[in-house]
Symmetry: C2
Subunit: 340 residues, 2 copies
C-alpha cells in the first residue's frame, strides 16, 4: 500500500479554499484506491513574509525536500519564482482541453473549440524572468532592463520534454520563437536538432505573434506547443480564454527527477476570497496531473469521471454559472457532489 | 491645391501587388479631392540586398528624407527594423475595428466583436528588439541573449501619445506590463505620472498575460491599449484574429514630426504572391491612416465609405471568401469596384 507525502502551500486569496477542497477529494480517492496521503503545510508569499520575514522561507524549502509533490494555491506577489527556481522546476505542462458541457462558455464559436486538446510545454526557470536585470542610467537618462537569456542546453532540455510529450500524443510540436527580431535565440535550430531523436514528431516553428493569432483563429490545429518562459506565460493564458474559464486549468511544473509543483493557472481572486464560492477545479486539475505523474492513473481517472459527471449535470460554481438550465453551487457543495 | 510626395516601398511577396492597388485608389481620390500625389519607389529587404548589397540601403533612406509618407508592402527579412529605427518611428498605431458585414468570419461569436473598436499603441523603436544582444559562452556553455531595455523617457513619450489618443476616444487606456516578473520596467508608474496631464483618461494597468486572455474573453471592454515593442507585436496579432482576417488591418508608425510609415499588418504571403488575388485592404487601411494624418479627412472618408459599400455587397478576395452569398473577386476587380 503506497504512501505519499504532499506539501500543501495554500498561499493567499482563494488559495486556501481551493487547496483545502482539492485535498479533501484527494484523500477521498486515496481511501478508495488504497494508498495513503500525508499532508504537511508550507508558507509562501505574503503570509510567509509575515511569519518568517521571507517570501520563500528556508523552512518551506526544507519541508518540500523529499516530498512527493507540492500542491500550491496562489500568491499575489513574491516567492513563486524563487520556489520554481530552487527546485529547478523547468518543465511546465499546461493542458488546454475543452469540456463538452462547457463549450457555450467560450467566446469562440463552439465548432472552433470542440475536442480541443492542446498541451503547452513552457520553460519555467530561465529566460527573461531570470536573466541579468536592474535599473541604471547613462547620459541618455534612467533605464530599466531584463535580459532574455537562454543557454542552448536549457532550450535543448525543455525541447526533449516537449518532444517526448508530442511522441505520446498526435506527433506535432509547434515551437514558439521570434527569430526575425531575436535572432540570437535559435529555438528552431536547437529543437530540430533534438528532434532527430524523435522521428515520429513533426516540428513546426511558428513566430510567436502568428502563433497567438492562430490559437484564436484555428486552435484545433495544435497538438503540443513549446515556448520559453515569457511566451509560454502569454500563450497559456490565451489557451485559458479559449476554453472559456481560466478556473478550469491546472499545471504541473517538474524537475528532472519528476518531482513537481502543482497549481491552478488562475490567481488569488481577492474579490471572492473567503466567501466559499471559489472554483476548485483548476487546483483539482493540477492534482490530477500529480496523480498521473505518480502512476496513480486509476485515481486520476476516477476524479476526471466525477468532474465530467457533475459538469454534465449542470452544477456550476459562480465563475461558470449562467442563468438557464444550470445549478449554482458553492465550493463545499461541489466537493460533496464529486464524492457521490 | 496641395501636393504630397510618397515613397512607395513594395518589397516582396504580395507587397508589390497590394501597394500598386492602394496607390491606384489614392490617385483616384486625389483627383476627386483636388490634391496631387507624387510617387517615388524605394527598396527594402531582399530586393534591396540584391540591388544595393544592403537590406536598408542609403538610397532608400535619402529618398524618404523630406517625403510626406512611406507606403510599405512587405518583406520576409531584413531592413524593416532598421527603417523604423532610422526615422525614429516610435509610435505605432494599430486600429482594430470589426466590419459589420464580416462579423461571421471571426472565430469569436458575433456578439463578442460587434462594434469592436480598439486602438493598439505600440512602442516601435526600443525594447527587446533593439537592446544589447548577442551570443556568448561561459563555464555553463553557449548562450544567446536579447535585452528588454527601456529608458524611462522612451516609456513616457509613447505614453503621452497613447494618452492623447485615449483622450480623443472613450478615455480608457489599458497598459500592458509584466511587473510581477519584470519589476525594473515600471510601465504602470511612468504612465500614471504622465496621465496627470490628461485628467479625462482612466489608466488601467493590466498584466500582459491577463490582457491577452481578456482580449479573447471580452474584447469590447478595451479602448486604447498601450504596449512595448514585443508585447505590442503579440497583442496586435491577437487583435487581427478577433476581426477574422489580418488582411484587413493596417498600421501607421509615426515619429515626433508626424512623418510616418504606413503598412498592412500581414506579411509577404509567398503562397499567393504574383497571382493577382491578394487582398489590398490592409495596405489601403494604412493609406487611410496616412490621409488622416495629412488632414485629408474627406479623402479618407471617401475610401472608407467605398470599402464598406463593396464589403456589404458581398465582394471578397480569396482570404475572406466563403461559399454562399459572397462574390469572389481578384485584386484588380476589387480596385475597380472601389472606384465606382
Ligand atoms: C505570477 C507570475 C509571475 C506567473 C508567471 O508569469 O509565471 C503567472 O502568471 C503564471 O503564469 O504562473
Ligand atoms: C517582421 C517583424 C520583425 C515585425 C515585428 O515584430 O515588429 C512584424 O511582426 C510586425 O508586427 O510588424
Amino acid at each position: 500500500k503506497p504512501s505519499y507525502r504532499i506539501v500543501a502551500i495554500p498561499g493567499e486569496g482563494i488559495g486556501p479554499e481551493v487547496v483545502e477542497a482539492s485535498l479533501k477529494i484527494l484523500q477521498h480517492v486515496a481511501k478508495i484506491e488504497g494508498f495513503t496521503l500525508q499532508v504537511d503545510y508550507g508558507w509562501l508569499g505574503t503570509t510567509a513574509f509575515e511569519e518568517f520575514g521571507s517570501y520563500f522561507p528556508q523552512a518551506t524549502a526544507e519541508l518540500c525536500d523529499g516530498a512527493d509533490g507540492i500542491v500550491f494555491g496562489a500568491v499575489t506577489k513574491g516567492g513563486l519564482l524563487e520556489l520554481r527556481k530552487h527546485f529547478d522546476f523547468f518543465c511546465n505542462l499546461r493542458p488546454i482541453r475543452s469540456v463538452k458541457s462547457l463549450l457555450h462558455k467560450s467566446s469562440l464559436r463552439p465548432e472552433k473549440i470542440q475536442e480541443l486538446d492542446i498541451l503547452i510545454v513552457r520553460e519555467l526557470v530561465s529566460g527573461i524572468y531570470f536573466g541579468p536585470s536592474g535599473r541604471s542610467s547613462d547620459e541618455q537618462g534612467n533605464y530599466g532592463y531584463h535580459t532574455m537569456r537562454y543557454y542552448d542546453e536549457e532550450i535543448r532540455r525543455i525541447a526533449r520534454k516537449a518532444l517526448e510529450q508530442a511522441q505520446c500524443r498526435r506527433g506535432l510540436l509547434t515551437v514558439a520563437h521570434k527569430e526575425n527580431a531575436l535572432p540570437h535565440l535559435p529555438w528552431t535550430r536547437l529543437v530540430q536538432e533534438e528532434a532527430t531523436q524523435f522521428p515520429g514528431v513533426v516540428v513546426e516553428p511558428m513566430l510567436v505573434d502568428n502563433l497567438a493569432m492562430q490559437m484564436v483563429l484555428n486552435p484545433q490545429q495544435f497538438d503540443v506547443i513549446l515556448a520559453g518562459n515569457l511566451f509560454g506565460d502569454i500563450l497559456s493564458d490565451i489557451g485559458g480564454a479559449l476554453v472559456g474559464s481560466i478556473g478550469l486549468l491546472g499545471s504541473a511544473s517538474l524537475n528532472d527527477n519528476g518531482f513537481g509543483l502543482y497549481e491552478a493557472i488562475h490567481g488569488t481572486a481577492p474579490d471572492i476570497a473567503g466567501l466559499g464560492i471559489a472554483n476548485p477545479l483548476g487546483t483539482l486539475e493540477a492534482c490530477i496531473l500529480m496523480l498521473q505523474q505518480w502512476g496513480e492513473v486509476q485515481a486520476a481517472q476516477r476524479i476526471i469521471a466525477a468532474q465530467d459527471r457533475i459538469l454534465a449535470k449542470g452544477y456550476r460554481t459562480a465563475d461558470l454559472f449562467t442563468q438557464g438550465e444550470e445549478i449554482l453551487v458553492n465550493t463545499a457543495t461541489l466537493v460533496g457532489l464529486l464524492f457521490e
